[in-house]
């Protein structure tokens, strides 16, 4: 059972979390859209396997 209708995003006002390039954030903000910048860094020292293990544990 779907929790949402797929077209919900296209009927609502956009509210965006930008993870990565700050330029993307700046250009979204310039279009008067609510946006939050996440200054992402590789977690767990960049070890993707460790990240998967932590995901299962937490």
């Amino acid at each position: 059972m779907m929790e949402k209708e797929k077209d919900a995003l296209f009927k609502e006002s956009l509210k965006i979390i930008n993870i990565g390039l700050e330029k993307f954030f700046e250009n979204i903000e310039a279009q008067s859209v609510e946006v939050v910048q996440v200054d992402w860094e590789p977690p767990a020292g960049g070890d993707t396997e460790m990240m998967e293990i932590l995901d299962h544990l937490l």
């Binding site: 779907m2 929790e3 949402k4 209708e5 797929k6 077209d7 919900a8 995003l9 296209f10 609502e12 956009l14 509210k15 965006i16 979390i17 930008n18 993870i19 990565g20 390039l21 700050e22 330029k23 993307f24 250009n27 979204i28 310039a30 279009q31 859209v33 609510e34 946006v35 939050v36 910048q37 996440v38 200054d39 992402w40 860094e41 590789p42 977690p43 020292g45 960049g46 993707t48 990240m51 998967e52 995901d55």
Partner: protein, 523 residues
Amino acid sequence: MENNMFTSIEIRKKQYYDSVFLMGENQKLGNSDGIIQTAVLMASEKNKSILLDLGITYSKIEDAGPNDLIIAIIGESEQAVSDALGKVDSILQGLEAKKTEARFHTIQEGLGQLPDANLAVFSIPGEYVPHEARKALEAGLNLFIFSSNVSLDDELQLKQKAEEKGLIVMGPDCGTSLIGGIGIGFANVVRQGEIGVIGASGTGLQEFTSQIHNAGYGISHAIGTGSNDVKDMIGGITTFSALEVLEKDPNTKVIAFVSKPLGEQLAEGLVSRIAACKKPIVCCFLGLDSPLQLPKKSDRVVRIIDEAVKASIDLLEPGSKSGNLTLTPKELAWCEEERGLWSPEQRYLRGVFAGGTFTYQSQQVLKDAGIRVYSNAPLSHHMTLADPDVSQYHTIVDMGDEFYTLGRPHPMISGALRNERIEQEAKDPQMAILFLDFILGYNASEDPVGELLDSIILAQRKAESYGGHLTVVASMCGTDQDPQDFAMQKALLDQQDVFIFNSNARAAFFCANLLRSEKVLEK
């Protein structure tokens, strides 16, 4: 290393910066006086191997991890190296000061600030995407994933999970979307209207939406699916979702779909889905030799983006006057005139492109005109360049290919890679036509034409020095609303006698016409 070189290699522990920023700064640094080579990058495994290729070795580099910053500078003097290092420090200090204003490091923290967020936009290294994107889906966010290098297995899992939750995943490797007029990623500024479009290619969507705007019409939504969605393994999950969205959307009257050819199984499923759609659909399959048969009378299948624009407008307003692909008598006369200026040696076309879809579409237009083109991204394998760094006969290179962009900024962001290639092509007295594409819009270079102008002039002068004349042809994808100032960009090219078209396909037709009467030696 030679004796007159001075090298400085520093590892800054736990200082993470995104690669696009670092590549831009690295390029500026490399242009400084007395600097031979610089590498400012994060110590990921991929980057460490790039350094090895550059001959930069240092034991501490091996121990550094993906959160550590490497600053490697090779200069002609100790002073030049120290000045460059000072420049890096002042740039990074400025950035750190800015960073203290923004305070979120995880999606959860971001959601704390914006709890009713509905879209997560990812542009982080592909290997970390599945982990972070799963968390975003769990939090009920739709996804726009710009990052590439995400495995098909992970893509499928993310899209299946999104399906269960009634969410949509645009990407991975999604360059462009326009949601209710808001551009995400590389997008042009276009008016809102009644044509909805789905695309597996970012530049394909940019060309389609810009041309619709330039023809006086508008876009309801442009939904990027990511380049792999149309593969059988993914089965078009996002394509089908996007069709559902546009079919339900009251503002969308006509739907267009722009893609390279589909996987065989997907093509079958999509034909039945399109037949059942209540709205007319235009399918543009680039490179498709035998068009699909669509049962519904109102639907159209075309092979070129301009034809998709024309068909969409015709369906919206039957009998409307929209763009024509055929060349005007004036343009045909220009071809004749230009050919008359070439030296007997000049015979080949050299395309140095930023857009992958433009590389593909141009080859298709030229092939239809009987002109075979070599490429690093060819229409068929036998036209693959033996060495992507060396053009042969007629050649169009996609400089956005990973072969060129590893550790270097993408040509849509910076002109550096294309400048080098144009200068290299200029040395070949057999080049008659230099063919370029310029892409405007959000997140693209602020001055794409200005960045290439010196190389264009150099190539023109070089051709004259060989006793010939270089014909420069360019297409410009963009609108009068884009941040780069479309008219100014065009004027810069006009001043250099460049033939400019607002359509890549028309520019390719122009090139085909320039070459048509030439007896070109081909294998």
